[in-house]
Amino acid sequence: MEMIGFLILFPLIVAALLMVVRHNTARNVIVIGGTIAIAVVSVALVVMNLGTAGQYYYFQSEIVNYACMAIGVIIGVTIIAYGIKYRNVWAVILAIIQMGGSLVFEFVFAHDVTCTRGLYLDSLSLIMTLIIGVIGSGICVYAIGYMHDFYFGFHDSQEDNPKDRRPTFFALMFVFLSAMFGIVFFNNLVWLFTAWEVTTICSFLLIGFTKTEEAITNSFRQIIMNLVGGIAFLAALYYLVIEFNCIDFMDFIVFGTIAPALVVLPLTCFSLAGMTKAAQMPFHTWLLGAMVAPTPTSALLHSSTMVKAGVFLLVKCAPIYAVSFAPSILVILVGGLTFLLCSCMAISQSNGKRVLAYSTIGNLGLITACAGVGTAEAIWAAIFLVIFHAIAKSLLFLCVGTAEHHIASRNIEDMDLLFEKMPHLARLMILGIMIMFIAPFGMLIAKWATLVSFVDTKQFVLLLILAFGSAATFMFWAKWMGKLSGVAHTEENIERTVHLTEWISLGTFSFLCIASCALIPVISDFFVEPYIGSVLGISIQPVLDDNLYLASIMTIFMVIVMAAIGRVRSKRVKQVPVYLSGVSVDNGKRIYSNSLSQPQEATARNWYLEEYFGEAKWSPVGTIATYLLLGLAFIYAIMSFVGIGLM
């Protein structure tokens, strides 16, 4: 329990220090020291509790209760202040509702309700701990080099800029880590709610970090949507306290599994909260907008951790979805539609970060759908999707961030010849991409498990969605990978100016990627199956060990090939220029002599199929459909609530 306390409190101390310290070297030392401590303790916690079936700690504290209340007020006041400053009425209204609601809740309803088991730890928390503690820390280390380039450019070593707001940036990152640890360890729903809101406000401040007009607009879009989710969370708390006098998360899940008909309304509310945070349609626009933030923010908050808090909540509730009716259908269909439509829309995007954002939303959709199915196999699949998505996506975000600073663009078309310009970076990027979409790498194994669980539960619609969505996924990843892999032997290597800190985190992530892909059976045995066993009493592995090990062998083979490819030049092979219809001027640059005898460059742009997969076409469809689903689910939930009342 001490370690859990350390993980939640220590980042806060680091954050406070970072706010005070203004010196660059000192800050770098604090960041590196802090992240190492967090990572080491996270790993130690995991090792010491390996394979746990769930432990609950009797921990009650009035201080924490009041602290949570204070944090809630601070968050509310901050949002209201920003809302007034930038004249955003909705943000103010929602913040007032939420702050008022939570104060009334604390003083009037929940004052006497206690939760004796304040903290817990099970195998799912352990997985999340590793993700937050190792990947989150890695991203903070990466941010040292990145934020330097962000302000000064990689060629400039001057360290003095009045607009330098790095202290705030790093402090927010650490506060965020603390909140994430809170989410995965708190069993007291009120505390959990507070941590939930802390992630929202951190995200809000980080999206608006650059204070450009676009950033401010997008940050308000984020806060409004997440406040809606927060209010839904609060509504669920009201219901639980008034009806059952319960703020114990585990009790809620156990009770819900036994009597799903009685928790339809709170479960629907939790679903809404989880889906807003996980940026499911119709709330996906906030995550797209969040891409204006500096890349480490996108990597940390909007791919590997914060959005995972949303699906974490849903996966926790999965056993209830398995036995309930309307909330389950809501989550399955919203998740499924989001996966399909966002995978399709990703085809039409040429901005690298936007492709990553759409792919993130899509994969979260798949995780959401798995949670909605809620069987043992589906949970297995969902957890593996979470793991691989967290690792591979953060690697990809960081690669795009570094590439952006060196080629001055995040457009995929400009990443042409990156294999030569930045040979190591391009290989890592390709590794990340392959993990995201192709067997034998992790994501596809998880999708395989998803398929098995959908087949077993006869989810006809989801099967079709998965088939078509996967095809779309192939398209947008393959063409990106193709763009990266071009080799013309004409370009200079420009990656020598990449910071050491960036390489360290990129290297760590790549190692994690490879290790996690190669060790799927082991992860399954020590983390995923114990968790499923602890909540469902059975443990099933949807994909047989034989196939997993075969996949591991192929993975390692592919990794070796990708690492070695293009480095050895055989003397027996003659290098020849490409075919340009016999009228070439400069083959390396693809310049040929056109019909007017003028030199002209042949360019090939990837296919974006706007006409078929454009945002303008599909986004409204998805938004309307998911709003309808939400509306129907809430009508059903309220009717069932009234029905219970009448009985």
Partner: protein, 293 residues
């Protein structure tokens, strides 16, 4: 221990597949060219012409536009063998499908890596083709599971009835995308065996001599594997299925050649739309029936 044995069996099966399927695929390709020629009122090349072609290509000088392409192609070839090994050792059908996709991806990346305008256009089209047929291939595996209760290919050997009975819609869908997979007209957008191409040679433009030989061999292996996918629809626990399978596969291969010779190439829009529509309707209805009835 069992895991190791099963993986070893798969690997051995891959090697055996590589040899046997190469011979069969070569003959299949030879028959294809012969029948095509007859349909066009020509005599056609000798039956072993594909073999001569590959032997010639292997004897050509070793050249390359860059240092990476050949490696991608070798990997693509290896993974095609493994896919075959998985299938013929009775392994997981889904795994087989995924590995085929991996080898397809490596083939596309090989074309992209050349950075030649022509091969890049070929690569774009090839990627689109994969997107067009991939849903059907996944649903094929799903349908297989629903009909047999397992993803293992070996289960068809214990069925009381051939699965084509319950999976007729899936079978029709597979036939449709088989034309894309075998690179037959009207869906030979990225690369085909016909003489003239408006885009030089599509994906293979920058793959000369020995590399083209690898592509050809890969194509043989794939043809055999895909025909085996057709064959499992007609297998059940009765030796009488053997002649039926042979007749069925022969008929369907003939059908593909006939289609190849009678339809002009379509645009990519028609390819994508028709493939997805057929998948949605044929496989969708079939799966719906299996799910809800």
């Amino acid at each position: 221990m069992e895991t190791i044995i099963s993986i070893l069996i798969t690997l051995v099966a891959s090697v055996v597949f590589a040899v046997v399927a190469a011979v069969l695929g070569c003959l299949l390709s030879g028959i294809d060219r012969k029948i095509t020629a007859r349909m066009q009122g020509r005599v056609g090349p000798p039956l072993l012409q594909p073999y001569y072609d590959v032997r010639k290509l292997l004897a050509k000088d070793t050249v390359a536009v860059n240092t990476t392409m050949n490696t991608y192609l070798i990997c693509a070839l290896i993974f095609t063998c493994i896919a075959g090994g998985i299938f013929f050792s009775g392994g997981n059908f889904l795994m087989c499908v995924f590995v085929v996709t991996l080898s397809e991806l490596l083939f596309v990346i090989a074309a992209y890596s050349a950075r030649s305008p022509y091969s890049e256009v070929g690569a774009h089209r090839e990627t689109l083709q994969v997107m067009a047929y991939e849903p059907m291939v996944i649903l094929l595996a799903v349908g297989f599971f629903m009909a047999t209760g397992s993803f293992n290919v070996s289960t068809v050997l214990h069925m009381d009835m051939p699965i084509v009975g319950t999976l007729i819609g899936i079978f029709i869908g597979l036939l449709f995308i088989l034309t894309i997979k075998l690179r037959k007209s009207p869906f030979d957008l990225s690369y085909s065996h016909h003489a003239h191409q408006e885009l030089v040679k599509g994906v293979t433009t920058e793959m000369p001599g020995k590399m083209l030989a690898k592509v050809e061999i890969m194509h043989w292996l794939e043809s055999v594997l895909f025909m085996a996918w057709i064959a499992i629809f007609f297998v059940w626990a009765n030796p009488i299925c053997i002649p039926i399978v042979i007749v069925a596969v022969a008929l369907i291969y003939f059908l593909e050649i006939w289609i190849d010779n009678n339809f002009a190439r379509v645009k990519w829009q028609a390819l994508l739309k028709s493939a997805w529509l057929v998948t949605l309707v044929a496989a969708g209805i079939n799966l719906a029936v299996l799910t809800y009835l």
